[in-house]
C-alpha cells in the first residue's frame, strides 16, 4: 500500500522486506499522530539517529559477494563497487513503528536534517520517545524541539561533543606490545 496520505510525505521505499516513509521534519508530529491514530501504529520500538558524513566518498574496489554469484550482464558485480547513492542530508532520524496486530506490521518513519536543524519531539504522541530522543541529542547531537527534559542521559553531564558522530574519534589508547620501544 502507498503511504502518500501521511502528512508531510516526501517519499517512500521498500527494501529487504521493510517499508520506509520519509516525511518533512516540521510535519513530523502530524505524521506521527496520523500513523498512531488512523493506521494503528501505537507502539514505538526505537528511534535511531544516523550520521551519514562521509557516505559514499570512499569507493572500494573489489568483489562484491552476492549470493547468486557473478552476473556478467549486471554492472558492478564483477569489478568495482558502485558508490552508494548520496543521501539528502547529513542526519537521518528513523522512528521504528509497530502495530500490535497479528502479522506485526512495521513501518520506518524517517526524517532528514542537517547539522543544527532541530527535529520536533514526539513525546506527546508516544511517551516512550522521551529517553530515545535524549539519547539522540546526547550521542548524535540532534536537537529535539519541544522535549520536556532535553539533557544528557548516557554521557557525563559536562561531556563535550557528541560521540556517535562520524567526526568524533573512537578514542581509547594505542595498544603497546611487549618488546616494543
Amino acid at each position: 500500500m502507498s503511504w502518500e496520505h501521511v502528512p508531510g510525505y516526501v517519499s517512500e521505499k521498500e527494501a529487504h522486506g521493510e517499508q520506509t516513509v520519509v516525511v518533512e521534519p516540521d510535519q513530523l508530529v502530524e505524521a506521527a499522530l496520523h500513523l498512531r491514530d488512523e493506521e494503528g501504529f501505537t507502539f514505538l520500538s526505537d528511534i535511531s539517529p544516523t550520521d551519514y558524513l562521509g557516505w559514499g566518498q570512499k569507493g572500494v574496489a573489489g568483489y562484491i559477494g552476492t549470493t547468486t554469484g557473478r552476473d556478467l550482464n549486471r554492472p558492478a558485480s564483477q569489478g568495482f563497487q558502485v558508490l552508494p547513492e548520496l543521501k539528502p542530508k547529513r542526519f537521518s532520524m528513523s522512528y521504528h513503528l509497530l502495530a500490535l496486530r497479528p502479522g506485526a506490521p512495521r513501518l520506518r518513519l524517517q526524517v532528514w536534517v542537517d547539522d543544527g536543524e532541530p527535529v520536533p519531539s514526539v513525546v506527546e504522541v508516544w511517551p516512550t520517545a522521551d529517553w530515545h530522543e535524549r539519547e539522540a541529542w546526547d550521542l548524535m547531537g540532534i536537537r529535539i524541539e519541544g522535549h520536556p527534559n532535553l539533557a544528557r542521559i548516557i554521557m557525563d553531564d559536562d561531556w563535550e561533543g557528541h560521540p556517535l558522530r562520524k567526526d568524533y574519534p573512537i578514542g581509547g589508547e594505542p595498544v603497546r606490545f611487549s618488546g616494543e620501544e
Binding site: 554521557m155 557525563d156 560521540p163 568524533y168 573512537i170 578514542g171 581509547g172 589508547e173 595498544v175
Partner: protein, 192 residues
C-alpha cells in the same frame, strides 16, 4: 596451627592432585622467597591468616563478570568455604573490592569513592579483561584498566573468567597475604 607451616604447603593443591610429581610452581617459589625475606613474626602471621580466612568482598558487580562473580557464591563453586560469601554492600565493612566488569569514565568517580571509603587493609582484584585493561573496548568511554585509578593486587583475565579462574585469583591473593606481602597501595606507594 596453620601459621607455622611455610606458605609453600598451603599452595595450589588441585595441581598436585592431577600431576603427582609436580614440584612447586614459579609463583609458589617467589612467594616462598618473599616469605623468608620478610620474616614475619608469629603474631603477624596469625593476623595475616585471620585476614585471609574471612576477607569479605564488596558488591561491585558492573557487567557480565558480575554474573560469574555471583556464580562463585552459588553452591557449585561455593566461596563460603573460604569465608567469603558475605558480600557486603557497604564499603566500610568490606576488605576486598572485586571490580568485575567494564568501567566507564562516568563510573570511575563512584569507583574511586567506594575504594576510598574502604578501610585499610584493603585489596583489589581486577576481574576480567575489561577491568584489567579495557578489554575489547578501546574507546572514548571505557577506562583502559582499573589500575589507572586504584592499586590492583591481582588481575584475573578472561571474558568473563570462569568462576574457577576467579577463585584461583582469590586464592593467590590469599597466598600473597599469608606471605606477608602488603596490599598493592603500599607496594606501589600510592594513596589508599
Amino acid at each position: 596451627m596453620a601459621v607455622n607451616r611455610p606458605l609453600r604447603e598451603h599452595g595450589l593443591k588441585s595441581e598436585r592432585v592431577l600431576w603427582r610429581g609436580k614440584g612447586p610452581s614459579s609463583f609458589e617459589n617467589e612467594v616462598d622467597q618473599l616469605e623468608q625475606a620478610l620474616g614475619l613474626t608469629t603474631l603477624e602471621k596469625a593476623v595475616a591468616w585471620a585476614q585471609t580466612k574471612s576477607m569479605w568482598p564488596d558488591t561491585f558487580g558492573l557487567a557480565c563478570c558480575a554474573i560469574e562473580m555471583m556464580a562463585i557464591v552459588s553452591s557449585r563453586y561455593d566461596i563460603a568455604r573460604f569465608g567469603m560469601e558475605a558480600f557486603r554492600a557497604s564499603p566500610r565493612q568490606a576488605d576486598l573490592l572485586i571490580v568485575s566488569g567494564r568501567v566507564a569514565h562516568k563510573m570511575a568517580a563512584p569507583l574511586r569513592q567506594i575504594y576510598d571509603q574502604m578501610l585499610e587493609p584493603k585489596w583489589v582484584i581486577a576481574m576480567g579483561a575489561c577491568a584489567s585493561s579495557g578489554g575489547m573496548f578501546n574507546n572514548y568511554t571505557t577506562l583502559q584498566g582499573v589500575d589507572k585509578i586504584v592499586a590492583v593486587d591481582v588481575y584475573v583475565p578472561g571474558c568473563p573468567p570462569r568462576p574457577e579462574a576467579l577463585m584461583e585469583g582469590i586464592i593467590r591473593l590469599h597466598e600473597r597475604v599469608l606471605a606477608g606481602i602488603p596490599p598493592a597501595y603500599e607496594v606501589r606507594g600510592v594513596a589508599s
